[in-house]
């Protein structure tokens, strides 16, 4: 074989490889989900519902894979000099699934509907308190100055505003007002949206089938995360309900589904040998052991520091995540632009120091109860590992297994000593620290109640400059490492398994599957 022939053959192979990477239209993509969508109007939310809604409706803005904010329905936006007015320009020519044009006034209608929902139905929008001034952020008015211009007026400048709007829980979607009847009630089964897919069929607790919306007009920005170009290639996407993880694995191996999300890391080694692709990304859900600092025993900082010194975070994280991530005892996820080595500051694993502190604190074998549940097995496994590590330094830790709803109830009332817990995913460090900081007398879910820390936190929320903000976050982490009001452990990685027939599929920190930009080879 001469070199010319080899070069020609190589060129052909290369062309074939490129061709294989070119999107192909057609086929059905089947995504396994642990539960069915709860609603089509967003009145009942969970992660699976948010995923479906993002395929049916386009939000104004959304997170990119790198957690920066990118455009979806809004092609651009600008803020006033004082930061209190945000003006979004909707992309031109965008229409709903029924062919009617999307108007900025529709989003004002949806905003009002969301904000009034708590009063009308008793089921408040989960982000109502995010925007109504309960926290620092207060939206005074949302208005449409013309069909393509949407204006948000804030009480005061807030660096988190855009990030809050990009949060999949707080999305303001382009939802057609034709979805409601004359009384303003959502029409059963209606889902006239603006997203890359439209409703085809929903067999509850079985599957939801969406078909490609051929009239979809994407924003001129590369697809990344939930943002940018959402052009669909597959004819249909099916969200198939598979609650059991073993059944989901079997289903992908037998070719009945194409993507399985939320795989337990301990299954990775085995599943890799079976011809499916394993994708992973750093996660955003803080896994922690909550400590009730008002408990007679746990209020002693020496005891809390002794507990921290007793925990081998490296080993615990390695065991629980199959080495896919590293320990992270901070409120800054590894995928965050703010992350750096400074956020690894934490009492080091040192059993001798732990024992010395226990002696100094006068600990005499009193029982410490760790609450856990088996609904989320990771929380139970963490409790078992914590118990063993604490026992090694002489701490008498006992596990109390509750069901998830009961443990959550105790979380809200602050009635626990130690609780093996996992927070829902959040994207920004300020939001993450904020979820466990605050005044315990008014907010029992606050784990860390310290005046100096709360003051520093308030200062961070008002700081827009990246470097200053990051430096302040480092100071906050140092204070947390001193006081140990909570034991942050790690952020579980997002792990998905994908059939080799699926091309163009990627995973990302938010872990929400996306059927756009994906195609199948058969």
């Amino acid at each position: 074989m001469n070199w010319k022939y080899m070069a020609f053959a190589g060129a052909l192979l290369a062309a074939g490889a490129v061709q294989a990477q070119e999107p192909v239209q057609g086929g059905i993509l089947k995504l396994a989900r642990t539960s069915d969508a709860r609603s089509l109007d967003g009145s009942r939310q969970d992660a699976n519902t948010d995923t479906v809604l993002n395929h049916l409706y386009d939000p104004l803005v959304a997170y990119r894979a790198d957690l920066s904010v990118g455009p979806v329905l809004a092609e651009s936006w600008e803020t006033s000099a004082d930061g209190t007015t945000w003006t979004f320009t909707l992309r031109e020519g965008a229409t709903y699934h029924n062919g009617k044009p999307i108007k900025a006034a529709d989003m004002v209608w949806l905003w009002d509907r969301y904000m009034a929902r708590g009063e009308k139905t008793g089921t408040p929008w989960l982000c109502e308190d995010v925007f109504n001034g309960t926290s620092n952020l207060q939206v005074n008015d949302v208005s449409a100055t013309d069909d393509r211009t949407l204006v948000f007026s804030l009480e005061r400048s807030d660096p988190l505003f855009l990030k809050r709007l990009a949060d999949q829980i707080c999305h303001i979607f382009a939802v057609s007002p034709d979805n409601v009847d004359e009384n303003g009630d959502w029409i059963e089964g209606s889902a006239i949206g603006s997203g890359p897919f439209k409703m085809k069929e929903w067999k509850k607790e079985q599957y939801m089938a969406l078909e490609r919306f051929d009239g979809y007009l994407p924003v001129n920005d590369p697809a990344s995360g939930y943002a940018g170009d959402r052009t669909a290639h597959v004819d249909e996407v099916h969200f198939v309900v598979v609650p059991d993880s073993n059944a989901a694995e079997t289903a992908i191996l037998s070719g009945q589904v194409d993507v399985v999300s939320q795989l337990q890391p301990d299954r990775i080694a085995d599943i890799r040998t079976k011809g499916v692709e394993v994708l992973s990304a750093p996660g955003l859900s803080l896994t922690a052991a909550l400590i009730q600092t008002q408990d007679p025993l746990m209020q002693d900082v020496r005891l809390r520091r002794a507990v921290a010194h007793a925990i081998d975070l490296v080993q615990l994280t390695e065991v629980k995540t199959a080495g896919l991530t590293q320990p992270n005892p901070s409120g800054v996820p590894l995928s965050s632009e703010y992350y750096g080595e400074e956020f690894a500051i934490w009492p080091e694993y040192d059993p001798a120091k732990s024992k010395a502190l226990l002696k100094e604190a006068g600990y005499n074998g009193e029982k410490i109860t760790i609450e856990a549940n088996k609904h989320y097995t990771g929380m139970y496994d963490n409790a078992v590992l914590l118990q063993a590590m604490l026992a090694a330094v002489g701490i008498n830790a006992q596990i109390e297994v509750l069901d998830w709803a009961a443990q959550l109830d105790n979380f809200f009332s602050g009635k626990f000593q130690v609780s093996s817990f996992g927070y829902s995913q959040r994207t920004d460090p300020v939001i993450i620290y904020g979820m466990f900081m605050g005044d315990k007398s008014t907010s029992p879910t606050a784990q860390w109640d310290d005046q100096a820390a709360n003051e520093l936190y308030d200062a961070i929320t008002g700081e827009a400059d990246f470097d200053k903000r990051r430096a302040m976050l480092v100071d906050l982490q140092k204070m947390m490492a001193e006081q140990v009001p909570i034991l942050p452990l790690y952020y579980p990685p997002v792990v998905e398994i994908v059939s080799p027939k699926v091309k163009g599929y990627t995973t990302w920190s938010l872990g929400q599957p996306r059927a756009w930009g994906v195609w199948k080879t058969e």
């Binding site: 008793g122 067999k203 059944a247």
Partner: protein, 313 residues
């Protein structure tokens, strides 16, 4: 007969009232509530309080109970807190799926186990008898989730004969729907077969020791006639009671099997509702299961005379 029926149904009323009070109180006695479970850790205490008020959970318990009972009596089982779906159609739809699997499995298990058990009793002490007892004991001791997974791996994954996901098969109808039901039916069939087989074997052995069997044989009747006309009719009554109990228990929920085979049945609905503290769904399901149990027992009692000559007399 009509008086008997009316009497039995009237007797069921206090039972159902007691069950309704018990399930109502139990749901509220356990920690956690639907508002908290629904909103999750993203909620604020104010949002939870508002949702509780909207759900009427801030009312005194007797008020909550009588409002619910009054609605039930008018056929209104309320709406699911998690999804907003009407509870009654939701339960009936799920019950149909579970009932199809359970009734088929128990019918087939009985059809296989009864002749095998009677044959084993007839050949008591033989190698056939010993192996039948060993297999039935083995089947009885198998956990349903383990057996289900093994069946799923062999017939669904390795051989590829049946769809792994019941949800897909169930929605397609025809052969695909039947194929989707085969593996869950097989799982239940194997497990329940053990109990039925042992029961019919034991009662047949006891009957075969009776003098009237010896008398029938002395009359020169064939073994087939002795077994079918004399032994079976007398030995079947306890097994019939057991079949009734098995049906009642399984119709109340085969959540494990439904989860393994991804079947959207009543058991899975109930378990999910308990996790999310979906009071209307849990209360509705338990009440429906209780009514099913009562009606099933009634049916079993009514059919006793057909099988048991003593009762017929």
């Amino acid at each position: 007969m009509i008086r008997f029926l009316v009497g039995r149904l009237a007797m069921a009323v206090p039972t159902l009232i007691i069950i309704s009070i018990a399930v109502f109180l139990m749901m509220r006695a356990i920690p956690g509530d639907p508002a908290t479970a629904m909103l999750g850790d993203l909620a604020t205490p104010e949002m939870i309080a508002r949702l509780k008020a909207r759900m009427g959970l801030d009312q005194p318990l007797p008020v909550q109970y009588f409002v619910w009972l009054g609605d039930i009596l008018t056929g209104d089982f309320g709406r699911s807190i998690s999804t907003g779906d009407l509870v009654l159609p939701l339960m009936l739809e799920r019950f149909q799926i579970s009932a199809l699997i359970v009734v088929t499995a128990v019918f087939l298990a009985s059809a296989v186990a009864i002749p095998l058990g009677m044959f084993a009793a007839w050949r008591q002490g033989s190698a056939w008898d010993l192996s039948t007892v060993a297999v039935s004991t083995f089947l009885l001791s198998l956990p349903s989730f383990w057996l289900g997974l093994i069946i799923l791996m062999i017939f669904g994954l390795r051989l590829g004969w049946f769809p792994v996901l019941g949800t897909i098969g169930m929605s397609e109808g025809g052969w695909t729907k039947i194929a989707a039901l085969i593996m869950p039916v097989l799982t239940l069939l194997l497990i329940e077969m053990g109990a039925i087989l042992r029961m019919i074997r034991a009662s047949t052995i006891e009957v075969l020791r009776q003098e009237y069997i010896t008398h029938a044989r002395a009359k020169g009747l064939s073994e087939w006639t002795v077994m079918w006309r004399h032994a079976f009719r007398n030995a079947f009554a306890p097994t019939w009671t057991l079949i009734g109990l098995i049906l009642g228990a399984l119709l109340g929920g085969i959540a494990v099997v439904e989860t393994v085979f991804t079947i959207p049945g009543l058991g899975r609905l109930l378990v999910q509702a308990i996790y999310t503290r979906d009071y209307p769904v849990v209360q509705g399901c338990i009440l429906m299961i209780a009514v099913t149990y009562v009606l099933l027992n009634l049916l079993i009692d009514m059919l006793y005379p057909v099988f048991d000559p003593k009762v017929a007399r």
